[in-house]
Each structure stands twice: as structure tokens, then as C-alpha cells.
Amino acid sequence: MSAVLEIADLRVSLPVDGQYREALHGVSLTVAAGEAVAVVGESGSGKSMMARAVIRVLPNGSRVGGAVRFKDEDVYQMNGRRLSAFRSTGIAMIFQDPRAHINPVRSIGDFLTEVLITKQGVKPVDARRKVLRLLREVDVSRPEDRLHQYPHELSGGLLQRVMIAAALAIEPKVILADEPTTALDVTTQSELMCILDERRQADDLALLLITHDLDLSAAVCDRTAVMYAGRIMEEGSSRSLHDQPRHPYTAALAASRPQIANNGRRLSVIQGQPLSAIEAPLGCPFVPRCKYAIAACRASEPLPKVIDGGLSACIRTNDIRAQLRSEGQPA
């Protein structure tokens, strides 16, 4: 399987108080056609920055190093026309807050058909037919009426369905979903994730799901990467992250989430608060919160190593693997 999307040693620096500070610190990740990959992290981990870097919409003045390749073509080498084609036919993005990413003064119908008509040269009648079919597919009731409605007339869940329909309408190769269901009720979340999952399998889509929820990533994605302070701490099959974590941060993250299945056990807590790459100390950025940290962890920055079919950026993985495994287990 060759990768549709390849992120290679991606570095993004932003000007902070006149100085360039790194917000993404060498992130590498690939997604193949038909594959679902999750990126899990807390605030400041750089997961959304990574998503923005992929579609090349970074804040003004940012510096980018490394590469983002879409079907072997570097997104940062594309000229205006190529980039526009990439964004309108290659990749589609779904955001957490649909209301912030949809034009409030255009109707749903205009919004859905715009790219099809202006970029892909589809005839308006055909675009309308296609969009109606997609709205039905994402379980939007009364689709014909919806085309004439405006964003403010739709609930958050309904609007997110419209966003998903819009993403599917351009028949992209990659869908980039940044916390698509975080603001929604669990029932809507379940349904929307199910729709995305079905479409991914039917159309051989690559899905990059950005989320804070390890359980959700395990349910929907084959592989998960855990980010912290602008870098990937661990990457592996989603199952292995729960059952056999390689990195202390992953184990601690899994153990600090209350489980619906067990009760009574006190939550184990990661002391302190998540850091962004900008605040990270030298050496491993997780050291201040890590209970396994030793002097060597502060000395130099650990590079991701292959362990057990996955990657871990921890120099102690092999020494502490058994302890990590027991951390995530219910008492």
C-alpha cells in the first residue's frame, strides 16, 4: 500500500514576541488509501497545527520545514493552480465547529454545490442531484428543503452532517477531520463516525482523524499516533495503545479517563498540565509530568524508535513496558 498522504519530519515555527519558536517539532506520519489513522493529543500538542500544515493554511509568517506529500507531490512546492486543485479535489477537511467554517449568508445548497460547479465544472443540475444523494446518505431529513435553508436554521449536529456531505461531494482521496464530533451528543457522534467509516471503506478514502479521545480513535482507526508538545510520542495499532502502551504518556492518558465499565477506582492522575512545543524543556518534553523519568531523559531528546511494530519516543520503553501495561488495566 502506498501512502496517499505523507508527512515527513514536518517542522512549523511561528513568530512569538519577535522570535521564531517551534510549534511542530519534526512530525512524521503516513496515511494510505482506505486507511484510517488517528492523531490523539491534548491542547497544545500541535495536532490542529499539523492539520493546518497539511492543507497549507498556516498563520502568516510561519516557517515550514520538512515536507507534506500528497500522492508524492510536495504540497509546499505546488503552484497556485496545483494547490487550488489539491484543496478542491484531493483533500477535504471537516472542522470541530461547522458554524465557524460555513458562510452564514449563503444557503446550504449554494455551499454544497459551489466547489462542484466552480472548480470541477459540474453542471448545476447534476451538482444538485449529487448533493441531494449525499444528504440522504448522511441521514439528513427533507434534503430538498435543506438546500434552501441557511446555516443558522440548522442544529449543530445537522450542520456537521452537511459539512460531511460537502467533504464527500468533491470525492477527495483524503479526509482530514479535526475533532469532528467533539461538540456533538454521543448519539450523533456514533452516527457520524459510522457514516465516515462506511464511506472510507466504500470509496477507499484515507481518513486522518484528529481527536482527544483515545477510545474513539481505537474504535474508528487502524493506527493511532499520540502527540505531545508538537511531536509524536507513540505510534502503533490503535489496539496496542490501550493494551500494550509503549510510552508513559499514552499509558497515563488511558488511565486518567474514567471508564463506563468499572467504578470505584480512583483515577490516576498526570500531575501538572499539558505543554505546547513552545514551552517544552530540553530533552523529553514529558519529563516534568513523567513518573518514570531519569536523568538521561533530560539530557537529550529521544527519537522515535521501532518497538514491537510501532514507534515510541521514550528511551525507557523496554525497561518499563510491564509497568505501563498494568497502568491501563482496570483494577
Binding site: E42, S43, D139, G156, D185, V186, T187, Q189, S190, E191, L192, M193, C194, I195, D197, H212, D213, L214, D215, L216, A218, A219, V220, H242, A252, L253, S256, R257, P258, Q259, I260, A261, N263, R266, L267, S268, V269, I270, Q273, P274, R289
Partner: protein, 279 residues
């Protein structure tokens, strides 16, 4: 558990007046947010109210704390019935009894007021203390919620999300209320911070004996923090029982569907329609 009730709500109903039309029918029909809800919160108990957006849980909380007047029904807090009209003197008493923590501490704290001063203001309103005593009490409260003394001198903007929520909790518990309402109080926090605040809330309940009314859409969190659960849907209670009963063996279809949608190990997303047909 103590059987002494601190909150009794009887057939509460709230109809919001809505301008224009709702949906395709009904002129001036109003929107019924809460429709005949009765509940009892015992002293020291932690009662969870779960439901999706629009289920009426926040309106219910606002009626109990007195920020909304019920359209029908009555609320009794610590043995006193809440009147329909504004009663200045009584508001003061209620403030001692019930406090609330909201989801977003950034919009519920005054951005220009330092944390210390927010807590001292509450103490000044409710207790006869000298300035020195107030400062000392404030320091103790900050310690109780796990905030460094240094952070007390900060404004909310200088605090992290977790610290802000600790500050909001500190302000709420300063009057030593008997009831603390937590409206999605941990929903916006990062996973690792959420665990810290949940443990803090569990400890505070143990040390102070406060009763919690815990509103949330997150069933895993509710499982961790509550003794009993009320499930709300469209303004009504559809199911209630001990947390264990409701989450291990839900009786109502709605609760079953809700529970089936919670991501957990081995879970796969499903269409809700399939779920309702199956059950």
C-alpha cells in the same frame, strides 16, 4: 447515605416564550424546556443528571439555584420553599446554601478580578470577618482546591484551563454551601486535567459533606462521580435509579441507546436508527 433532603423539586415545568414560530406549526406555543420534573437530593448525595443537548438539564439547574423562575411546580431548598417573587433578604440565604460551577470558567469569572479578590468578595458578603481573617480563609480555600497561593494573585486570563476551573470551584465553595451544582464542569477540560478535577471533586465531597447535582452528557464521568442518576430527554425524566443500576442495566430504550453510543474498548460506531430497532 443521609436521607435528609436538601433539595426537593416537585413537578417543575419551564416554558420559554419564543418569538416567531417554532418549526412548521404552533404560533406562540412557547418552548417547553422542562416538563414536570420532580427530584430529591439528599444531604451529602451526588446526583447525576444526564441527557443530550436540549434535554432541559441546565434549565432544571437554573430553576433550582433560582436564576430561572419555574412556570409551574415548586422548589424547596434546605426546607424553605422558593417564592415566585424576588426576595432580597432570602437571596442572601440561598447563596449560602446553593452554589454553581459552569462549564466555561472563563466566561463565569470576572476577567478583571483577581482570584483572591473574587473569593474575598464572597466571604465579605456572607461572613463577618476582619480583612486578615478573610485573607487567611482565602488561603485555606485555595489550598483546598489545589491552587498555589501565587496563582491567587492572578487574573483568570493568566491561568490555565484547569487552574481557572479550580478558581471557579474555590469561589463556589467559599460560602460552604450544602449543595454544589456542577453544570458540565469538567467537559471542556483536557483529559489529564479532567482527571485532576474529578479527583478534587470527589475529595471535596468527602471532606465537606456537600451534596452534588452533577449535570453532564458524559456517562463515563457521571459513573465516576455520582451515586444516583436521572436521565432526561425532551424535558422529562425517562429513567432514574442508582448509578450502578442505570448504567449496568438500563430499562428504557433511550438510556440503552445513549449507553450504546459511548466509545469504549471494543466499541464500534453505529447508526442510532439500527440501535432503536434492535432494542
Amino acid at each position: 447515605m443521609n436521607e435528609n433532603p436538601v433539595v426537593v423539586a416537585d413537578s417543575l415545568r419551564k416554558v420559554y416564550r419564543v418569538r416567531g414560530r417554532i418549526g412548521r406549526s404552533g404560533r406562540n406555543a412557547g418552548l417547553t424546556a422542562v416538563d414536570g420534573v420532580s427530584l430529591t437530593l439528599s444531604e451529602g448525595e451526588s446526583l447525576g443528571v444526564i441527557g443530550e443537548s436540549g434535554s432541559g438539564k441546565t434549565t432544571l439547574a437554573l430553576m433550582i439555584i433560582g436564576l430561572q423562575t419555574p412556570s409551574a411546580g415548586r422548589v424547596e431548598v434546605c426546607g424553605n420553599e422558593r417564592g415566585r417573587k424576588r426576595q432580597r433578604g432570602k437571596r442572601h440565604v440561598w447563596g449560602r446554601e446553593v452554589q454553581i460551577v459552569f462549564q466555561d470558567p472563563y466566561s463565569s469569572l470576572d476577567p478583571r478580578q483577581r482570584v483572591n479578590s473574587a473569593i474575598e468578595e464572597v466571604l465579605k458578603l456572607h461572613f463577618e470577618l476582619s480583612a486578615g481573617e478573610r485573607r487567611k480563609r482565602t488561603a485555606t480555600i485555595l489550598e483546598q482546591v489545589g491552587l498555589d497561593q501565587g496563582r491567587g494573585g492572578q487574573r483568570p486570563a493568566a491561568l490555565s484551563g484547569g487552574e481557572r476551573q479550580r478558581a471557579a470551584i474555590a469561589r463556589a465553595i467559599a460560602v460552604e454551601p450544602r449543595i454544589l451544582i456542577l453544570d458540565e464542569a469538567v467537559s471542556a477540560l483536557d483529559v489529564s486535567i479532567q482527571a485532576q478535577i474529578l479527583n478534587l471533586l470527589a475529595d471535596l465531597r468527602k471532606s465537606t459533606g456537600m451534596a452534588y447535582l452533577f449535570l453532564s452528557h458524559d456517562l463515563s464521568v457521571v459513573r465516576y462521580i455520582t451515586d444516583r442518576i436521572i436521565v432526561m430527554h425532551n424535558g422529562r425524566i425517562v429513567e432514574e435509579g442508582t448509578t450502578d443500576q442505570v448504567l449496568s442495566a438500563p430499562q428504557q430504550t433511550y438510556t440503552q441507546v445513549l449507553l450504546a453510543c459511548v466509545p469504549r474498548r471494543g466499541w464500534k460506531p453505529q447508526r442510532v436508527r439500527q440501535l432503536t430497532e434492535a432494542s
